[in-house]
Amino acid sequence: MNVTNLWDFFPGLYSFILMEPANALIRILLILIGIFLVYMGYKDKLDPLLMLPMGFMMAVVNGGILITGGELGTLFVDPMVSEPGKLLDALQINFLQPFYNFTFANGLIACLVFMGIGGITDLDFFIARPFLNLFLALAAELGTILTFPLAVALGFSFKEAASIAIVGGADGPMVLFTSLMLAKHLFVPIAVMAYVYLGVCYAVYPYLIKLMIPKRLRAIPMDPMEIRTVPSSEKFAFAIVAGVVLSLLFPVAAPLFACFFFGVAVKESNIGRFREFLDILLSGSTLFLGFTLGALLSVTIVMNPKVFLILILGMVALLLSGIGGLIAGLIACKVSGGKINPLIGIAAVSCVPTTAKVAQHCAMEVDETILILPYAMGPNVAGVITTAILCGIYVTLVPLF
């Protein structure tokens, strides 16, 4: 038995030797990052629902690289395959390929997650003060708007730039949907960066808040009992009408609007079996979303020269959106004569319910008795709706130019 045959017993290890040294190092780094994400999820420092499956698969897929068809690859998934014959082979060989082609490539997974989110979204706080919430949410789209020309200035096409800019809306399903519609070739880095950064929001935004909002304003109390109780019939009727009108305005994003508002309608109509199913659907979709995203993070796929720029632009988009939300919060505070806690502005950066929790957490650091979470949920839900609207506008408008 010669040395080469010995390596044949361990193709995963042998693939390290076949790789460029730089790629082998990045592969090791990706395995370590995957394990780190699992640890952060396990310790609840980052969202465990996503980090556990994504980090685990990221580590595993980079371990499981071998030679297939004369090239380095995996038996997990190949997102770049499109030629019918090769696709048929891939569907029979790669165990996640059917899942990727029939749920990721057509945006179905984004719609399923969005339907599940609709099923747990409480519209009470949004509907109680719609114009204040929409004002905050629109301001918190600053990153979604400004990152677009910034990305174009850095050499991205309009379609690529729009897919990156939507990260500023801090809503995973919308990022998936936009990148699948406009820039499929950049879908993997954009989607993964978006989901990792959404977890980072939890860690970075408190520092932004401390930098921008004085302590005395963070301590402004808001009485949750002042929020009007919204009847279920009103929320149900709004979901139906808004779903139809927004689909009429932006047919390209109609699947997203349909799924979200249907989820809301199911919740408000209180059909027990549907609600139970939506809970399971959201859990299952999130699990497979993280699972497949992690599997897409193989070194053979992420070695895209544009990845580094996408990483920077994604962070800029989220920071700008946070700044926009907080400025709007300060304006609302001033206009209301100091009755509105400006921290609810950060909750307008969507990412339900993470940013609302960040607002509550930062308020409690100043005064432990403060409860602003119900108020923060209003702009939080408005953020989901405005991001879906901007996603619809980008997907419709950008291909026209």
């Binding site: 509907i127 929409l134 949410a137 677009f148 174009v152 200035a153 927004l246 405005t386 609207i389 901007l390």
Partner: protein
């Protein structure tokens, strides 16, 4: 440079359309609120 200016124009147009659509969503909420509260009053009266 022309591309960047074009991108700015698209971004501004997107924001204006977003503003208009969000305003429309707000108006829908007000109309729905009006209709449902009228219906509830009618039910209470009967």
């Amino acid at each position: 440079m022309g591309d960047v200016i074009g991108a700015f124009k698209i971004a501004i147009l997107t924001y204006i359309l977003g503003l208009f659509t969000c305003g429309l969503v707000g108006v829908i909420i007000l109309i729905v609120r009006k209709i449902t509260s009228n219906r509830e009053k009618e039910i209470e009266q009967t």
